[in-house]
């Protein structure tokens, strides 16, 4: 592999690059989808190639090719330099990178059972069993059971001498039941609607115990059909981790990406309300809110040894006791604030440049109350479970979420089930009204395998750890139903 990266880096520097990086990535995937009793997808894929990023005259160029032949690798490096020269005709602020020691070493996800070595028929049988149990519940209209595994072997090398090899493995599994009657389509899913992914081996899929959850999931989907519409009003919400993880993703993860703050995502995903003048002083949430970007969290979808700029994995605070204190950053953006990169640059494969992406954006648990005790401590509220829909404005202020189900909390006890719950608010007002965060007993490491960002589009696997939490005075029920 070093021969390939040396060839790319030597070519780029010989053509005039002041700095260059080469990443050789091989990605293997397998997926099984069972839909309503049939195997709808049984598939594998492999993709490999090299991407070369070159810095010339203060501007970036990037070229990628699937061919690892010597001539094509040299052509990619040559193209990267040529593209960088074209970029340099329209720059106003030459790129400056922070200092770091050259990166060396290896990293691999902790995998006990290789997901690519497990017989596919074994996994298929598990999914078919779970699917059959869901369909056995009267009233279920259609179902889905999913398994996915991804392994990425990547080599990063840079003209400063860095050379890093990593193997990152992610496994996911989930089930979903849908019930239909008239205009209503109600869904329940497990473990959450993001696919139940973890950085782990096949042991994670086994831990999910999809078959054991199937009947409950299906029963709740059918029950939702006849549950009352969630009534609107200003309410106290207790959010289960299966919803709170996406609230963190949208309202803290994205707005603390420093490239968004500097405008480089403005034309696509947008910018951020967390402008640099707010750093260190803005009250983002209540004193109970501590949020970190932690690329070292075991099992997190955003965990690795080094990011795709060769910066070592680390945990950095974003919100500390409610105060906004940090950004997710890169070697290019951090120096503009006099800081070092937070190590958050990640690329979606060999053919994409690294962007500032979430690692594991985690709301830290607080000792004191379990999720159950938070519910018991709530006189009148709603307990919302499992994300169903999400939307937020392009500065990450006005959000609206829907969950699959809500349960009324009365006198500290869960009661009536409601369908179609929605809630909306302004990010900092919402987090300032957080008056309880659960302890480690309900803390779960969740994540999403499809966080979209960048042009050309990139999908990232990102992690979110959280326990349940309570929020006061939230607007519930939006629109005409």
């Amino acid at each position: 592999m070093r021969e390939l990266t040396d060839r790319a880096l030597d070519t780029a520097t010989a053509r005039g690059a002041a700095y260059a990086e080469a990443r050789v990535v091989r990605r293997d995937e397998r997926a099984i989808v069972v839909k309503t009793g049939t195997v709808a997808a049984l598939a594998t894929s492999e993709s490999e190639g090299i991407g070369v990023r070159a810095l010339v005259d203060g501007a970036w160029g990037f070229a990628a090719t699937r061919s690892l032949g010597p001539a094509d690798v040299e052509r990619a490096a040559d193209d990267a330099v040529r593209i960088a020269r074209a970029s340099a005709t329209a720059i106003r602020r030459p790129v400056q990178l922070d200092e770091r020691r050259p990166a060396h070493g290896t990293y691999a996800t902790d995998v006990r059972i290789d997901p690519f070595a497990v017989p596919l028929e074994q996994t298929t049988a598990t999914l078919l069993d779970a699917d059959a149990r869901m369909r056995a519940v009267e009233g279920v209209a259609f179902t889905e059971a999913l398994f996915a595994a991804q392994r990425e072997a990547k080599t990063f090398a840079a003209s400063d001498g860095s050379f890093v090899e990593q193997t990152i493995t992610h496994v996911g599994g989930s089930i979903e039941a849908n019930a239909v009657e008239g205009d209503e389509v109600q869904r329940r899913s497990y473990p959450d609607n993001g696919g139940g992914y973890r950085a782990a081996g096949y042991e994670w899929f086994e831990e999910l115990r999809l078959v054991e959850q199937a009947e409950r999931v299906a029963g709740e989907a059918v029950a939702l059909l006849h549950a009352p519409q969630c009534p609107p009003g200003r309410r106290t919400l207790v959010l289960d981790p299966s919803q709170l993880y996406l609230q963190i993703h949208e309202s803290c993860g994205h707005p603390t990406e420093l490239d968004r703050v500097f405008g480089t995502e403005a034309a696509y995903a947008g910018t951020s309300f967390l402008t640099t003048d707010k750093l260190g002083s803005f009250r983002y949430g209540s004193e109970l809110v501590d949020i970190v970007a932690d690329a070292t969290a075991p099992g997190g979808l955003g965990s690795f040894g080094w990011d795709d700029e060769g910066v070592a994995a680390q945990s950095v605070p974003l919100v500390k006791e409610g105060i906004f204190v940090g950004y997710q950053s890169s070697r290019e953006t951090a120096p503009r604030l006099g800081r070092k990169s937070s190590g958050g640059m990640r690329a979606d494969g060999w053919n994409r440049i690294p962007l500032i992406r979430m690692t594991n954006i985690n709301l830290l648990p607080r000792p004191g109350m379990t999720l159950e005790q938070i519910i018991e401590d709530t006189d009148d509220g709603l307990y919302l479970h499992t994300n169903r829909s999400w939307s937020i404005d392009d500065r990450r202020l006005n959000f609206q979420f829907a969950t699959e189900v809500a349960w009324e909390i009365k006198g500290g006890k869960l009661g009536q089930m409601y369908r179609n719950p929605t809630y909306t608010g302004i990010t900092y007002e919402f987090w300032r009204n957080c008056d309880a965060v659960g302890d480690t007993s309900s803390y779960r490491l969740l994540g999403t395998p499809n966080c979209g960002k960048g042009e050309p589009g990139q999908a990232a696997h990102v992690g979110h750890g959280c326990s349940g939490a309570r929020f006061r005075d939230v607007q519930v029920g939006v629109g005409k139903w």
């Binding site: 598939a43 993709s47 990037f62 005709t89 829909s389 939307s391 937020i392 909306t424």
Partner: protein
């Protein structure tokens, strides 16, 4: 720069992969070749900050034993890679379960080539040309006192399909796409976009001017109470409604699963509303066949406000004893067929007429981050973005801060009062869309933001 293999060469490679697949003895086999040579120049704060190019191609092998189906893909296209992907597809299909819904891979049908899908000028585009386009766009923003953010991309997409049933299809397509947001120091913003097969038909300077002028008009936006307002939606916003309605309701799988609002003949829109999918429309981004190699049929989804037909792939068509309409996605595809060449019929009004006909309402440039809240009623939430204006007595009186809507898109189509005669070609998430501006009697805004 990289150059794409001609689509004939892609078909040749697909046939070679098919030979390897057929050596494994399947009842049926399909090879799909997808090639992409693309480049994108991205700018922000009126400077280029990202500039990329890639060359990739994958071969997707679907193999069938009885009704057991497996799919393997690779981007290793040497003989060893093609042999191995065939082996993998065989292993998967033998391990799979019988699928009672599977009837057959599609039979070959004549495919009329899609004229106007490829432009040599786009294929020959260079990073220097894209940088020049970006500079021109930035120059306009500079002259109007705002900053430019956006991208200028060019691409060549090559698709070829070869199957054991005799399908042989290939096409190379090009696309040039410019998007931009112009923004000023007070947060004012304006959007513009252009897409075409031929890069020479995309004028970055004109796109930059439209966005910059819209941003300048957005300065000093006032707060507005959420509520029901009459609206004029620019084509950028209309594209989201058309794409979402097609996705939620007009896939045969959505209907078969009971999650669609579709019923034949159902009243869905005002009489002015007609929406169809047509891969052969030369004003769109033509595509002659789908990812199963089936010729694309023109499918009317809504005619004069009434639901007409659905799009099918071979699996969903087989379940109903019908033939595919040519709307399959690459296998394996558990998500069903998609309409990806959408168009909405033009009306007779000018865009200015739409605004003049509004007593009090909002002129909305585009939507942001929309997501279904209730799929079967097509209730969608999202934000306005990059140019929202209050209109009173037919005149734009000033910009307003962005609003959140939570609105049934079905009700929105039913409330269409007027449609512009001008249409614009745009890119959606999965689709190309040729759409007009529209005026809608009432649109429900449910929240506000701070800018």
């Amino acid at each position: 720069m990289v150059t794409a293999a001609p689509s004939e060469l892609a078909l040749g490679l697909a046939e070679r992969a098919l030979t390897y697949a057929q050596e494994r003895g399947p009842d049926q086999a399909e090879v799909l070749y997808l090639g992409e040579d693309s480049a994108l120049t991205r700018f922000a704060n009126s400077e280029i900050h990202q500039n990329v190019a890639e060359s990739n191609a994958t071969v997707n092998v679907r193999m069938v034993f009885g009704t057991r189906v497996g799919v393997a893909s690779t981007n290793r296209l040497d003989e060893e890679g093609l042999r191995r992907v065939a082996e993998a597809a065989e292993a998967l299909s033998r391990l799979s379960e019988e699928n009672p819904d599977f009837r057959s891979l599609p039979e070959p049908v004549p495919i009329e080539s899609a004229g106007g899908a490829f432009a040599a000028s786009t294929a020959a585009s260079t990073p220097e040309a894209r940088a020049a386009g970006a500079r021109a766009l930035i120059g306009v923003a500079d002259s109007l006192g705002v900053r430019a953010f956006g991208s200028f991309s060019t691409s060549i997409d090559t698709i070829a399909v070869a199957t054991s049933l005799g399908i042989r299809a290939h096409q190379a397509s090009t696309r040039a796409h410019v998007t931009t947001v112009a923004m000023g120091d007070d947060g004012e913003a304006g959007w513009a976009e252009a897409v075409a097969v031929d890069v020479d038909r995309v004028d970055p300077e004109a796109v930059g001017r439209e966005a910059a002028q819209r941003a300048v008009r957005s300065r000093g936006a006032a707060s507005l109470e959420p509520g029901d307002y009459q609206v004029v939606l620019e084509p950028y916003a209309v594209s989201d409604i058309v794409e979402t309605i097609a996705y939620l309701g007009f896939s045969a799988l959505a209907v078969q699963e009971g999650r669609s609002f579709y019923e034949p003949g159902k009243h869905i829109g005002a009489p002015l509303v007609s929406i169809w999918d047509d891969g052969h429309d030369p004003e769109g981004l033509p595509l002659a066949f789908d990812f199963e190699g089936v010729a694309k049929q023109r499918v009317e989804l809504i005619r004069d406000g009434h639901a007409v037909d659905l799009v099918y792939d071979s699996l969903t068509a087989g379940k109903e004893g019908k033939r595919s309409t040519g709307h399959a996605l690459p296998a394996p595809n558990p998500w069903g067929p998609f309409a990806i060449n959408l168009a909405m019929a033009p009306g007779e009004a000018s865009r200015d007429d739409l605004v003049r006909g509004m007593e009090r309402g909002l002129l909305v440039t585009r939507f942001h981050y929309t997501n279904p809240v209730h799929p079967k009623r097509a209730i969608v939430t999202g934000m306005t973005r990059d140019g929202t204006f209050l209109v009173e007595r037919g005149e734009v009186v000033g910009p307003v801060r962005n609003l959140r809507f939570t609105q049934s898109y079905l009700d929105a189509l039913a409330g269409v009062e007027a449609v512009s005669r001008e249409r614009q070609l745009l890119r959606g998430y999965f689709t190309s869309l040729l759409v007009p501006a529209v005026r809608i009697g009432a649109f429900t805004f449910t929240g506000a933001t701070e800018f």
